[in-house]
Amino acid sequence: MRLLRRFLLPFAVLVVAATLGTFVLGREHVAASSPAMQNPGMKLADSSSLTAQGEIEAGRILFTENCSACHGVEAQGSAPGAVLTGPSLHGVGGATVNLWLTEGWMPLRTSETQPAAKPVVLTPAQINDIVAYVVSLAPGGVPVPSSVPLRGASPAEGFFMFSLNCAPCHTITGAGDALASGVHAPGLHASTSLQVLEAIRTGPQNMPRFGPGTISNQQALDVVDYVTKYIQHPTNIGGIGLGEVGPVAEGFVGLFVGVGVCLVAAYWVGDRTAREEDDHGHDEDDAQGEGGDGHGQNVLTAATETAVADV
């Protein structure tokens, strides 16, 4: 019992430190493994790293090597009953191809409900080539935006549109969330401005497609501005964002760390200092042992007992 009491305080401090550490360090680790940060050619929130004209012939070779197994040699889609299935890419538009390749969703690694974002193995030049090739096969779809001019964009308007259209799935802090049927909305902390704009316009997989009739071009740029400024660089006035997932994390820290520390402190304040046990074998537990209604008097009686014994 004395042993437990002696090590209770340091152990509690250790638990608290470990909990805090997982929140602070864990978040950094997640962000570092995102595709945009892995690929040295991509810069965060940079509107000038846009796709140059790619080489169609080089793109055809790359497509044949990396994509044709599922999408067909001419991107016409897989044959019915094929083992590896992939949809036709005719008319999907350059923005779709560019988005799926730069986010690392393609090439697919395994059959899954929603492709995971993997480290991008293709260089930006190679991606440009593949985009150029797929676009050359058939017209249609949203082209790769030629520029993402964020000068003069209104982050306030962007926040308004974001909270109306994007926050229900991506959460108000852009942390991403699980949805229905095995689908999830990814976090927005590692996306470039071009990727955000392409995603808005092309509506990848389960994301709705927001055309100019729903979000105008200027509004889309406002949203991109808000995401790249305030979503990706949260103020976190309190110091630790805890992953910006909201009250569950904050409640956890508040209860386990905050109230836990208060409990430990209260225990320490109220804990009666241990007496020397070798003198008469009485621990302070004995003094408190006689509970009951008249415990005040019992303590006094016991104290006088031991005091008398000393004398």
Binding site: P208, I237, A307, V308
Partner: protein, 316 residues
């Protein structure tokens, strides 16, 4: 062994000496502990000084909070440690007399209780009646502001959204919705013209590819004209607890409510049937048509109440 007692049964005062256990401090190493406490006080001092500096230079909340916290922590820990480890250990007992009263006092108290006093208190029933009347009137009158402040009698307000026949569908910024505004797989929050932002009338407009060779999407019998050009309009107010349903998964054809994860199927032939979660009934659907200028309008209001409740409707 019991405490020594005197002739009247009360405990005798006990003599303790200056070298007895109670006067010793609890710390095994008092000078070392004193140094430690001094250090914590200095830490508190530094914390408070740091707070002053942080405040002066308008530092962030993190700095303000940390310095203030360290200051109070240092002082608090130091003071508690002082009390625990550097003060005489105690406890110091103070014996007191027996609580049992003297026999003579006992007799007197018992006598008083039995006779219940020699003084008679007269009951003034007349005054009591007047007081009762005043209290009764107060009780009745006190209900008046309570009843009035409960507000108007609730009507069936959730049935009456502001949608009317031929209401124009408008965006959040008031602009009308044209029949080519949405891409296939797109979504938009729309309101009736004149009630932009109306919480009951908010409607989720989605667009899906109609089946091959058809111009409309039919979600059920009697609704053949409700989905022109692939447009479907459902109430955005969840039928479980009223949260706005802003999540649309276009490939799995589902509307998801973020609050309690009610899932509504808006796939081919499905009229927002709840397939998961606590929602008890499907989302009401707004019948649409495309007017002469190509703008989307409502044929009629919702045919059933929107929002929570009315769980007996719409389920077969």
């Amino acid at each position: 062994m019991s405490a020594p007692t005197g002739d009247d049964g009360s405990a005798m005062p006990v003599t303790i000496r200056l070298d007895s256990q109670q006067f010793q401090v609890a710390a095994a190493n008092p000078t070392g502990m004193e140094k430690t406490v001094a250090l914590t006080f200095l830490l508190g001092l530094a914390g408070f000084a740091g707070f002053g500096a942080a405040f002066w230079v308008n530092a962030s909340n993190v700095w303000l909070g940390m310095t203030l916290g360290v200051g109070f922590l240092g002082l608090g820990v130091g003071m508690v440690a002082w009390g625990k480890y550097l003060m005489p250990r105690g406890p110091f007992s103070e014996s007191r007399h027996s609580m049992v009263p003297e026999p003579a006092d006992r007799e007197r108290i018992i006598g008083d209780f039995s006779s219940r006093g020699k003084v008679v208190i007269e009951r003034r029933t007349f005054l009591l009646k007047i007081l009762g009347a005043a209290g009764a009137v107060f009780g009745v009158v006190a209900m008046f502001p309570l009843i009035r402040s409960l507000g108007p009698v609730p009507t069936d307000f959730s049935i009456a959204t502001t949608w009317r026949p031929d209401s124009l569908l408008v965006n959040i910024d008031g602009s009308p919705v044209h029949s080519d505004s949405l891409e296939f797989g797109g979504m938009l929050t729309v309101f009736p013209e004149g009630d932009v932002g109306g919480p009951l009338s908010q409607t989720m407009l989605i667009r899906q590819q109609p089946p091959a060779g058809e111009t409309h999407i039919v979600t059920g019998p009697g609704r053949e004209t409700w989905g022109p050009l692939g447009y479907l309009a459902f109430s955005k107010v969840c039928t479980h607890a009223g949260c706005p349903i802003g999540l649309y998964q276009q490939v799995t054809h589902q509307l998801l409510c973020p609050c309690h994860q009610s899932l509504f199927d808006v796939g081919p032939g499905q009229a927002a049937q709840p397939v998961f979660g606590p929602a008890p009934r499907p989302l009401p659907q707004l019948p649409l048509y495309v007017d002469a200028h190509g703008f989307l309008r409502a044929q009629a209001p919702y045919d059933e109440p929107v929002g929570p409740g009315y769980w007996y409707r719409g389920n077969d």
